[in-house]
Symmetry: C2
Subunit: 346 residues, 2 copies
C-alpha cells in the first residue's frame, strides 16, 4: 500500500502519479490545470459527477467512468457489478432515472475467457437490478504486460426529472447534510483483499445501485439541493467538493457518522481515516432543513438507507471548509484527500 501525504501541486510535476487518480486533491489539480483549460466548455466546467444536456427539449444526464479495480473479484462484488453500479449511481445522483449503458472492455492478452464470462454475467445481473439496458459495447485487446486482466468503461444516459436542478453548488446555510449509511466498507474490503490481510470478520464491498434510494428521497422532498456518492477520496473529499462549489461551510458531527466496527478496527490497525476511505453504495444528500426528517424517514424504508441520518449542516461561516466536532468535543478541519490513500479502488 502506498500512502502519499503532502504532494506538490501539479505545476511542479512532469509525470502522472498514482495520486492523480485518487479522487482527491491531485485529481482536482489534474482536472483544473490540464483538462479544463483545454477542453473548457460550460457543461464540463460545472464539475458535477454527470453532465446534464438538453436534446430537443429532453434533459439527459450523461456520465462516464473507467474501472481499474484490483483485485477483479472481491467479497460483495467484482469489477463487473462495480462498473454498472458506479455509472448508475452517477446518473442517479444527478436526479436522473438511469436508462442506457455502454460497456467497453480493454482485455489483456491471456485473460481467462471464463473470468470474462463471469464478469459479464455480473454486469448483466447488476444492470437488471438497476433497471438499465447495456445497449452498445466495444472490445480491445492489448499485449500481455500492457494491461492488468481487464479494464471496463461504462458510460450511461439517464432522463433527468422535470424541474429538478441538483448541483454540488446548490447547498445553502442551514441545509442538513444526510448520509445514507456506514462509511469505508468498499475501500477496506479492497485493501484487505489485495494485501491479503486476515480480519476476524470479513468486510464486504457496499457496491449497490442507489436509484431506488434516490426515488425515495425525491418522492418526499422538493428541497434536495445536491446528492453525491462519496467514492474515491471518501466522505471527506465529497464534502469538501460541495463546500467549495457552494461557497459554504460544512459542519459535521463525528458521532453521527456510522462506521462498522470491523472497518474502524482495520482503519486503526492500518493508520487510515475512514473519512477518506472509498464507498460505493452510499450517498450524501444536502437537503433543506425543514425536509430533513422526512427525507431520513423515507431513506430508512429502503434497505440501502436503513442507517441513514443527519450528520451535520451547512454553515455560512468558514466558506469552502469542512469542520468536524470530534467524539472528544474538539473541532478539527477535515481537508480534502491530499494524495492517494489507496490506488485502484474502483
Amino acid at each position: 500500500m502506498t500512502v502519499f501525504t503532502c504532494p506538490a501541486p501539479i505545476g511542479n510535476r512532469d509525470t502522472v502519479l498514482l495520486g492523480h487518480g485518487s479522487g482527491g486533491r491531485l485529481s482536482a489539480e489534474l482536472l483544473r490545470e490540464v483538462f479544463l483549460p483545454i477542453l473548457a466548455n460550460p457543461v464540463l466546467c460545472r464539475l458535477e459527477d454527470q453532465a446534464t444536456v438538453e436534446i430537443n427539449g429532453v434533459r439527459l444526464a450523461f456520465t462516464t467512468d473507467s474501472f481499474v479495480v484490483k483485485p477483479l473479484f472481491f467479497p460483495g462484488g467484482d469489477i463487473g457489478s462495480l462498473s454498472v453500479n458506479g455509472t448508475v449511481n452517477d446518473l442517479a445522483m444527478g436526479g436522473a432515472k438511469p436508462l442506457f449503458l455502454s460497456s467497453a472492455f480493454i482485455l489483456e492478452e491471456g485473460f481467462a475467457i471464463d473470468d470474462l464470462r463471469r464478469i459479464t454475467a455480473s454486469m448483466a445481473q447488476a444492470a437488471e437490478r438497476a433497471g438499465v439496458a447495456i445497449v452498445t459495447g466495444d472490445t480491445k485487446v492489448v499485449e500481455k504486460g500492457s494491461g492488468d486482466g481487464v479494464y471496463i468503461n461504462t458510460t450511461g444516459i439517464g432522463l433527468v426529472r422535470d424541474g429538478l436542478n441538483l448541483s454540488a453548488g446548490g447547498a445553502r446555510p442551514g441545509d442538513a447534510v444526510i448520509l445514507s449509511g456506514a462509511i469505508g466498507d468498499h475501500g477496506i474490503c479492497i485493501l484487505t483483499r489485495r494485501e491479503g490481510l486476515e480480519l476476524d470478520t470479513a468486510i464486504e464491498s457496499d457496491t449497490a445501485p442507489l436509484h431506488s434510494l434516490v426515488d425515495a428521497i425525491l418522492s418526499v422532498s422538493t428541497g434536495v439541493r445536491a446528492m453525491r456518492d462519496p467514492t474515491r477520496g471518501g466522505l471527506a473529499s465529497t464534502l469538501n467538493e460541495i463546500a467549495a462549489q457552494s461557497g459554504v461551510g460544512i459542519r459535521v458531527e463525528e458521532q453521527a457518522i456510522p462506521v462498522h466496527d470491523t472497518v474502524r478496527g482495520a482503519c486503526e490497525l492500518l493508520g487510515l481515516d475512514p473519512l477518506y476511505v472509498a464507498n460505493e453504495g452510499k450517498l450524501v444528500a444536502i437537503v433543506a432543513a425543514e425536509d430533513a426528517d422526512a427525507v431520513v424517514a423515507a431513506m430508512r424504508t429502503d434497505s440501502l438507507g436503513r442507517d441513514a441520518g443527519i450528520i451535520g449542516h451547512i454553515t455560512e461561516r468558514d466558506p469552502g471548509m469542512v469542520t468536524m466536532r470530534t467524539a472528544f468535543g474538539t473541532t478539527r478541519i477535515v481537508d480534502m484527500l491530499a494524495g492517494d490513500q489507496l490506488p485502484r479502488i474502483c
Copy 2:
C-alpha cells in the same frame, strides 16, 4: 508484427488472444459466444456500430470505443484526435448528428503531463472540427507496467435524423456499394511507424470526422440503406458484416477500389492485403441503384469524398458472401479477417 491466420473457434480457447480485438472473425466470435448470450437485449443484438434508443420521443444514437493505439502519436494524428473522430464517425454512420462526447482516460503512472496536454489539445481541436462538445470525463491511474501510457474511451450521443433507419441489415439486391476514397492509409501509417519502417513517401493516417460527408450523402438521397466506416478488419470485414446481416451477396471490382501507391507498395513488401488494413476516415455506403450517381457526385464535393466511387453492387446470389473480380478478370472470395493482421491499430 504478429500475423495469425487460421484460429480455432473461441469454444476451443481458454484465454483472450490479440486477435479477439481485431475487428475480424475472432472479435465476432467473442461477441457472439460471450457477450451477446449473457447481455442479450434487442438493441445490442442489432449489431450496429451504434445503438439507437428512444427517450421521450427523441431518437438518439449511442456508441462507445476505447482507444489503445500504439504509438500514441503518428503522422496525421494521435490517440486524441483518433478517439474523437472514431466516435463521431460511429454516430454519423447511424445517420445521427453527433452532439456530445464523454472522455475517460486510463493513465499509466509516470506518463508525461506534457504528452497528456498535447493529446487533450488534439481532442479539443477534433471536437471543434466535428461540432461536438466533450461534456463529461473521468481519469484513472494504474501502476507503471499495468498500462501503456494512456488508453482513452470516448462515448458519444447523437440525434438520429427523423424518419431515417439505417442498418447493416438493410442492403437489397441491386443496391450500389459506394466507397469514399482510398483504403489502407491508417493501418499502414501505424504499422510503418510502429515497426520503424522507412518508406520513400510518408503515409499519413486518414483519421477525420465524416459527419459532413454523411450530410452530403443524406441531402441527395432517401435511398441510403446503410453506412459503415471500415476501421479494424478493413473494407473486407465491413463488407462481410453487411453481407451477413442483410443475407445478400456483395460483388466488388478490384479496379474500382482506390489504394494509394505507397500503401500498395508497403502492402506488397509486408505481405498484407489492403482489403484487410484498417481505415479511419473512410466510409462505405449501400445506396439504392437509382440514387448512386447523385450520391457519388455529392460526396465528391466534400474534401473527404473526392475519390468516392461505386465499387460494386449487392447481389441475390451468394448470400452472406463477398466476391471480387480481380484486376486479372478472375473472381475471388473475400472472407472476413481471420485473425489479427495488426493489433492495436485504434
